[in-house]
Structures are given as structure tokens and as C-alpha cells.
């Protein structure tokens, strides 16, 4: 309490305050003197050092770019690689007359109008002190010629740079995507993610596909070099160098041989194909046709090429495998059958009529069967084999949408599969809530939103509101093939660390087990196997099989056919003809591959999509190639690392 007593005395208190004010004042003066000392140190004693640094500032610290990681297929074949070449770069800041310099440079190396246009575009996106490329990919003689003349051009540099190259062009574009120049939007994003430092000096970044999704793995870590330069900005000597950490190598589950075979089997037709290893969710092939050359995009696509790609009615830039939404047609029936068994709407081997058309009670509207005479009567397995529509109309009607929806959602239909690519479409697994939401807009009225009894009927055969991506169908097929063990499909299998060569598995997330009965899987598979046997819709393609195969054909309507009218392919414009679908897996006992194939506007499933699948399976499981494909395939270099996946029989 002594302290308290002291405080109460106003005189002591005042003295104490003055004392403290003095302490505070002396402290502040001392600290300000410390600042003065610092300034004297920087501005007097270190003046020469900093003055030199300021003079040579633009080159005192040069980031050293890491090499972008490679992307290889499952057997180690390089799908995305780097090669070294020269660029001619101009730093606007250091050049008095840009136009004159460019003109003079044109006397030394050829500079095309395209180069100029690109240069102008880059120029508008960069700051004045950043070097801007005028010529790319100069060969050795061109580089040497410029180097010999460099003394004439202050502010002009020849730089060795690594270029990205996708050797298999169209074959891999929808999987790999591409890298491109870092634009204003990417700059903002990098700043927001606090990665600007690691991209200092970097010119390119992953824009699409795996190149974008795995940017963090592929980019690597900047190094830097302290370089002394003369007043013209030319490097005199290197003072210190910290090596960059190169990007990691991605190894895909994808098999480029299989991808190539699939591509050649498609030929010039439009569509998509996804092949999945049901045992682990690895994507073996992912194709979207037509495709484009990703190399065009790396250094900015010229407007002509862009226009022709963008305005092509075949939409080569769209990745149909993950973004294309198609009604699944009859390939939907095995899943629908599975749902019916699980819901108890039908028993295995329960025989029901499969007539030529189906009508709802109290309505005259005929839901027609693709076979006008009908298929007599059938159990579920035979209904799948012969693809009876009326059988499934009735099943769907009996079950109602509320029971169908949750069971089919288990197969991942109507939700993203979680593949390691951006932009996956969700598709539509219809439900009452979905319809209400879909037609919630002001343009619609209540009767549009309400679920009508008839809506469910065509859903039973994969028409109506149903739409899915080929990836979703392949994934659902793989889940069915694997007795309900569901993985997230993924393209990248392993990442090899560039620093220590250690390999990290990209884990297929622990699988989800569907809560369905094993005997039901077996029964549906039996039906799908019967598709490939005499009497089934795909029997022609089941001939001479050296392994067991289960499949389902499908035909997706593009336009509604009027009541009483007949589908006549010849009378319809090509874009209005039906899509040809096929889903399949093999061998049935221990599935190694599951696929979904769609060929746009190619008609019945068995005529286009199924033959592709059969040939693909033959190649994958027995190594046999169709005769007409020999000589058409790409030649791949023998893999440096040897066969990495012994389980793939060839």
C-alpha cells in the first residue's frame, strides 16, 4: 500500500510524471538517433554500393526459371515435354525508337506480320521494363546472326528458353490441356494466392486440363541469380546463383497406345470415349472428337486459327467426355434394372410382357417400343439383352421418380465424378425438386414445374430429362463392373518429386461401397453379357470373343419423332440423327476395363459405338489390332523407364 499512498500525494505524483516524461523523451530521441545512424550508414557509408545497385538495378537479381515438370503416360512415354530454343526479346524501357529497332532487326532475321501482331499484344500486357518476345523459336543460325549484331541494338536480347511441346497434339489435348502466356487475370490470381514471387520472370502458366489442375506440381520453385551488368544491360558476370527446383513429373493412368487406338477407331467421327480401370478408378483413355492442336495456344493463338476452331460447328474445343451432356438412351437400362431390383419393383427371373407399345391408364398416347412388334414377354435379364422399351416404361411407371432417383444417384449419375479435370458437367438425374428448380424462371408457369405422371415413363429408357456425360456413364459402368466399389476417376496416378526422385501416389480416394445386393449385380451383369450373345442387340460384336464381355447398346434421340411417324435417318439432317451409345466392361469375372462410348449422330448403338469398343477391348486385353488400323497408328518411342505397370497385358 506504500505505492498507493505515494500516488495520492499530488506533488510526488507530479514529480513522478515529469520523471517519466523525461524518460519517454530521452527514449524517443535515442530511437530517432538510431534511425539517423541507420540513414547515415545507408546513405553515406554504403552509398557507393547502393548507388551501383540502383544503376544496375534491372539486372541485379534475375530469377532462374524452373523447368516445367513432364507429363508421361502409364508406361513412361512423354506426353508433355520441354525443348530448348532461342527467343529474341526487347525491353521497351531501354529502346529509344521501338519501330526503328524492329525494322532494323527485320534485316537480320525474318519477322512475320504474325510475330509483330503477337508482339504488340504482349507489349500491351507488360510493363515497360519487362522484356517482351518479338521472335520465338529461333534456330541456331538465326540466334547466332542476331547475337553477332547485338551491339547495334541496346535493349535487345537473345535468350535461351524452354518451350513446351505436346508431341501427340490432337490425341492428348482434351486431357493435358495446355499452358499459355500469363495474362492479367492470372497475374491477379497469383497475387491473391501470394505466389507472385515464385512466378517472377515466369512467362507461362497452365491454362486448361491437367496443365492447369496440377499447376502447383508442374511449375516448380524459382531460383535466382545475382548478375553484374554493364550500363547497356548486358550481363558481365554471375555473382551468386541459387538453383531452381524443377517441377514434378506427372505419371498418368492413361495408356497413350490405347488412347491412340481409340482415336483411330473413331476416325473422323464426332463423339467421346472414356475407359476406366474399375479396380482403381484410373482413367485409361479419355477421348473427345474432334480435337485441336494444343501447341497452337502456347504462345498465343493467332486470330485466324482461333476463329476457325471457335466457329467450327463441330466444336473441337469442347471436351465432350466431361462436358458433353447426352441422354443415355438404352445404356441406362442396366442401372434402371439394378434400381428396380433393389426397390423390389421386380424380382430376378420374374417374367412380364414386353409388347410393341405402352399406354398410361386413361390415355391414348402410345409410348412406342423400338421393335414395333414387341418382344413377347421377358424377364429383366432378357429385357436388357433385347433392349425392350415397353418393359422399362412399365418398370419406371411402377416405381415412380421418388424411388428411382436416390437409387440411381448411388452410381454417381447427376453429380460430378470428381475427376482431376476442371469444368466437369453435372448432368441431370431428374427428380421432382430438379424439375421445380429447372423451370423456376419467370418464363415458365406452374404446370411446367409440376412433375407429371408421364414424365417418369421415358426416363425408364434413358430419354426424357436424363442427360449425362460420357465420363459419368463410364464411371457408373465401372462401379457396376466392380460390384459397387466406387472410386473417383482420376487421370494422374503418380507424382515424381524432381528433388529426390521419390514417387507419391495420387490416392484413388478410398472407395465407396454401394449398399446393393451382390446377387443383383450378378443378375444385371448376366443380362449385359446376354447383350453380346445370340439374341442380344450386340450379338454380332460378341462373336469370337477370347474373353468374357458385358455391354449395353444405346441410341439417344436427338429429335422427338411425331406420334405415328417413323424414324428415318435419311430424311433427317445429320445433326438431328440419333447418337450411338455403348457401355461395356471385360473380362466379366475380373473387370480390367470399363468404357462408355458415344458417336454423335451415328444411329443405333450396335452399328457405331459397339464396334469401336470391341476393337478397343481386343487390343487392350489380347493385343490384337484390326487390320485396317495397322500403319495408321502413331509410333511411340520405347519408354525410357520400361513398362511400369505389369498388370497391363498386351
Amino acid at each position: 500500500m506504500k505505492q498507493a499512498a505515494r500516488l495520492k500525494d499530488p506533488h510526488t505524483e507530479e514529480r513522478q510524471l515529469y520523471w517519466r516524461l523525461l524518460v519517454a523523451y530521452l527514449f524517443m530521441v535515442l530511437m530517432l538517433l538510431l534511425l539517423v545512424a541507420r540513414f547515415v550508414w545507408l546513405q553515406v557509408f554504403q552509398y557507393e554500393h547502393f548507388a551501383t545497385l540502383a544503376q544496375n538495378n534491372s539486372i541485379s537479381l534475375v530469377p532462374v526459371q524452373p523447368n516445367r515438370g513432364l507429363i508421361v503416360d502409364r508406361n513412361g512415354i512423354e506426353l508433355a515435354r520441354n525443348y530448348a530454343s532461342y527467343t529474341l526479346e526487347l525491353t521497351p524501357d531501354k529502346i529509344d525508337d521501338l519501330d526503328a529497332t524492329i525494322k532494323a532487326l527485320g534485316q537480320v532475321v525474318p519477322i512475320t506480320p504474325r510475330d509483330l501482331k503477337r508482339f504488340q499484344k504482349f507489349l500491351s500486357e507488360s510493363k515497360d521494363f519487362e522484356p517482351v518476345p518479338l521472335r520465338l523459336k529461333m534456330d541456331d543460325t538465326e540466334a547466332a546472326r542476331v547475337a553477332a549484331n547485338l551491339w547495334r541494338f541496346p535493349g535487345v536480347e537473345v535468350k535461351a528458353r524452354l518451350y513446351r511441346d505436346y508431341p501427340y497434339k490432337e490425341l492428348t489435348s482434351h486431357v493435358l490441356g495446355y499452358i499459355g502466356r500469363i495474362g492479367p487475370r492470372e497475374k491477379e490470381r497469383l497475387a491473391a494466392e501470394e505466389k507472385t514471387a515464385n512466378y517472377r520472370g515466369a512467362t507461362h502458366i497452365g491454362k486448361l486440363g491437367l496443365e492447369a489442375v496440377y499447376e502447383n506440381e508442374l511449375h516448380g520453385q524459382n531460383g535466382f541469380e545475382e548478375i553484374e551488368t554493364d550500363s547497356a544491360g548486358r550481363a558481365v558476370r554471375s555473382l551468386r546463383r541459387t538453383a531452381p527446383v524443377h517441377g514434378n513429373t506427372l505419371q498418368l493412368a492413361l495408356d497413350i497406345h490405347l488412347q491412340d487406338v481409340a482415336d483411330k477407331l473413331f476416325g473422323a467421327r464426332r463423339g467421346a470415349l472414356v475407359a476406366i480401370d474399375p479396380q482403381n478408378g484410373g482413367v485409361l483413355a479419355l477421348l473427345s472428337k474432334p480435337s485441336f492442336d494444343p501447341n497452337l495456344f502456347i504462345d498465343g493463338i493467332d486470330s485466324q486459327s482461333w476463329q476457325s476452331l471457335n466457329e467450327d460447328w463441330q466444336r473441337p474445343l469442347i471436351n465432350r467426355a466431361i462436358r458433353g451432356m447426352y441422354p443415355p438412351g438404352s445404356t441406362f437400362k442396366p442401372f434402371m434394372g439394378m434400381a428396380a431390383l433393389e426397390a423390389g419393383a421386380i424380382g430376378p427371373n420374374e417374367v412380364r410382357p414386353a409388347p410393341g407399345y405402352f399406354t398410361l391408364p386413361g390415355s391414348s398416347h402410345q409410348f412406342r417400343d423400338s421393335n414395333p412388334r414387341g418382344n413377347g414377354s421377358a424377364n429383366l435379364a432378357r429385357a436388357i439383352a433385347v433392349s425392350s422399351d415397353t418393359f422399362f416404361y412399365k418398370l419406371a411407371w411402377d416405381m415412380g421418380i421418388d424411388r428411382i432417383h436416390p437409387l440411381l444417384a448411388q452410381f454417381g449419375l447427376g453429380s460430378k465424378t470428381g475427376i482431376d479435370l476442371d469444368g466437369e458437367a453435372v448432368g441431370v438425374l431428374p427428380s421432382k425438386e430438379w424439375k421445380a428448380r429447372r423451370f423456376a424462371g419467370k418464363r415458365y408457369r406452374d404446370e411446367h414445374r409440376r412433375w407429371l405422371p408421364a414424365d417418369v415413363v421415358s426416363i425408364g429408357i434413358g430419354q426424357g430429362f436424363n442427360t449425362y456425360t460420357p465420363l459419368q456413364m463410364a464411371n457408373a459402368t465401372a462401379i457396376l463392373a466392380n460390384d459397387g466399389r466406387a472410386f473417383h476417376p482420376h487421370l494422374v496416378q503418380k507424382v515424381t518429386d524432381a528433388r529426390n526422385g521419390k514417387t507419391r501416389l495420387i490416392e484413388a480416394a478410398p472407395y465407396r461401397q454401394l449398399p446393393f445386393k451382390q446377387q443383383h449385380y450378378d443378375y444385371i451383369k448376366q443380362g449385359m453379357q446376354a447383350v453380346m450373345q445370340p439374341g442380344g442387340t450386340g450379338w454380332r460384336l460378341g462373336q469370337g470373343l477370347q474373353y468374357s464381355m458385358a455391354g449395353k447398346t444405346g441410341t439417344a434421340q436427338v429429335v422427338q419423332i411425331k406420334q405415328g411417324a417413323k424414324y428415318n435417318a435419311g430424311a433427317l439432317a445429320e445433326q438431328h440423327r440419333d447418337h450411338s451409345w455403348f457401355i461395356a466392361f471385360a473380362p466379366v469375372e475380373q473387370p480390367k476395363i470399363a468404357v462408355a462410348v458415344i458417336v454423335e449422330n451415328a444411329g443405333f448403338g450396335a452399328t457405331a459405338a459397339a464396334p469401336i469398343t470391341r476393337a478397343l477391348f481386343d487390343y487392350y486385353l489380347t493385343g490384337k489390332l484390326p487390320d485396317d488400323l495397322r500403319g495408321q497408328l502413331e509410333t511411340f518411342p520405347p519408354s525410357a523407364t520400361g513398362k511400369q505397370d505389369a498388370s497391363v497385358a498386351r
Binding site: 500500500m1 505505492q3 498507493a4 500516488l7 495520492k8 505524483e13 513522478q16 510524471l17 515529469y18 517519466r20 516524461l21 519517454a24 523523451y25 524517443m28 530521441v29 530511437m31 530517432l32 538510431l34 534511425l35 539517423v36 541507420r38 540513414f39 547515415v40 545507408l42 546513405q43 553515406v44 554504403q46 552509398y47 554500393h49 547502393f50 548507388a51 545497385l53 540502383a54 544503376q55 538495378n57 534491372s58 537479381l61 530469377p63 524501357d93 510493363k127 521494363f129 491473391a192 514471387a197 515464385n198 517472377r200 524459382n222 535466382f224
Partner: protein
Amino acid sequence: MQVSLAKRIARTIMDPLDGWLLALLAGVFVLSMIALFSASNQSWAKIDNKLVYTALSLVIMWLLARLSPQTVMHMALPLYATGVLLLVGVELFGITVNGSTRWLNVGIGRIQPSEIMKIALPMMLAWYFQKYETTLNWRHYVVAAVLIVIPGLLILKQPDLGTATLVMGAGFFALFFAGLSWKIIIGGGVTFLASLPVVWNLMHDYQRRRVLTLIDPMQDPLGDGYHIIQSMIAIGSGGVWGKGWLAGSQTHLDYIPERTTDFIFAVYSEEFGLAGNLLLLALYLGIISRCLLITARAPTLYGRLLAGAITLSFFVYVFVNMGMVAGILPVVGVPLPFMSYGGTATVSLAIGLGMLMGIGKLQRR
């Protein structure tokens, strides 16, 4: 008649203001305009803007200087309580930008309640100690410590280490002038130093990297260290007399980050050299000296504590900003008083100095 009327108007306007302080501030203002014109690449828009918010700040300063400290003192408790409530509001409904939640949307716009706390906390403490001036004992220091820690932790949680340090610092200065025992101050300091190794062990890798970058900017010359290195080059290459107005190569080649705001001192220092630095430091020292004199002459405990805390806070701004730009302190977002471009900071400084002038006016009568 005319002359005497003009004189009377001038006197009415000048009366509440402190002539010395105003003259020194005018000096800083002139230097800041010169530096801003260069830093902004001769942007008249920024100059106009600065004129507008400086005028606004002057009006606010004048209004506060006119009010009697007793009137202002009654606002201490409500202001502090509102500040804490708003901070809680930030915690619950705040707007998150770049990973930290500092702002609150109040309908007309967003506010940053931690700014309010910079002045509300010392006011609150000064009021509290004045209220219990005659019965002061150790319990009151404990309550005062709690009053500091509550907003301090709330701001720390946003997270905003820089502002939390400034707010708690302002509170500590009030405690210091209120006679907090030296034993506790020194004991606290020693405990803090002793706990550093423990803190180091608790830190994340990226936090350690930041500390290491501070000690040796060359550790990360392309990342965090880049700004410090560039601003040191700017200062160092300025030499004794500077490179001359509008002739700073670091400034005009875009090497200095945030060059109109937090790093404006690097711009000034590059162009006006050590001589310019000493002039600016002399002005700041003058302001601080004048403020401390007002503190010493303040008739009430409230006045002394508040004025003292405002003065020391002002010094901390100056020291932390210059230390950061000169590469001896970590990069935290503290503007240089009246030099850095930015209305909010200027207005809040004007509020503090306005109150201080109000306190100063009291003793002269």
C-alpha cells in the same frame, strides 16, 4: 473596422489551435506534397484528393480542439464500449479480405473498428484513472490491463498483428504515465525476451521464414525481401543530397512498392537524401517535443495520460514506418504520419492531435 474584423475572424479560427504544432505540421505537409507529386508520377488527381482530405482533417482537428477536454472525456466510455462491440461484430459478421477479417459493413459503407480503438483505448484508460485518481491501488492497474487486453486480443484474432501492437502500445503508454511500477515494466520486458525461444518453436514454417527474411532480406530476395531490398537501395543511393526532385530512378522505374502510401519515405529519401531525412526527422521531433510539453503542462490526470499516450503513439508510427522502410523493422502496414497518402489515417491522426490541442488550450488560460 475591416482590419479588426479580419483580425477577429483570424483569432477565432486560430484561438483553439496550437501555433507551434500547426507550423510544424504545415512543414510536414509541404514535404508530403512534394514527395507525393513525385511518387504518384505527377498525378494531379492524387494531389487534389490529398488537399481535400487534409482540409477535412483540419476542420476536424479544429472542432475537437475547440471542445473542452471535459466534454470529450465523457465520450470515452461510450466510445470504448462501442469499439469493443464493433470488434465483436467483426469477429461474427466481418468482411474477410486477403485472409484477415478487419472490416464491418454498417450499411453506408465498411468501417475498420480497430482504427477507432487506437484513440478510444487511451481515452478510456485516461478517464478511468482520473475517476479513481484519489483511491488508486494495484487493482486499478489490473482492470486497466484487462481493458487493454480485450480489444488487443480481438484485433490479434483478425489477424492484424500490426494494429494490435499499436492499440495495445497506446494503452500501455497511458499505463506508463499513470505510474505503472518499473518492476512490472522491466519484469514484463524480461519475460517477453525469455519467451521468444518458446514462441519460435510454436511458429509455423512460413512465419519463421518471415522473421528470417527480416533479419536477412537476401534470404528471400524475390519474395518478401524484395521490397525491403529495393527500398534500401532507394534510400542508400540517395546519398547525402539526394538525386533531386522527380529524379529518383528507383521510384520512377517502379521498383518501390506501395510508393505513395507505406513506402513514400523511400521515395522522399531517394530524391532528397540524408539532408531531407534530417529535415523531416527534425520536424517530427519538433512535433513530439511540443506534444510532450503540452502533456507536462496539462492540469488534469486525464489530460496528461491522454496527451502522453497520443504523443508516444505518434512517435511509434514515425519510428515503425521509417524503421520498416530502412530495413531494421518488419514490414507491417503502418503509414508515416501525414506523409503517406490516405485519408483515413490522416483523419484519425488529426483527431488525436485535435484532442491534444484541446488539452493544451486548457492550461493557457
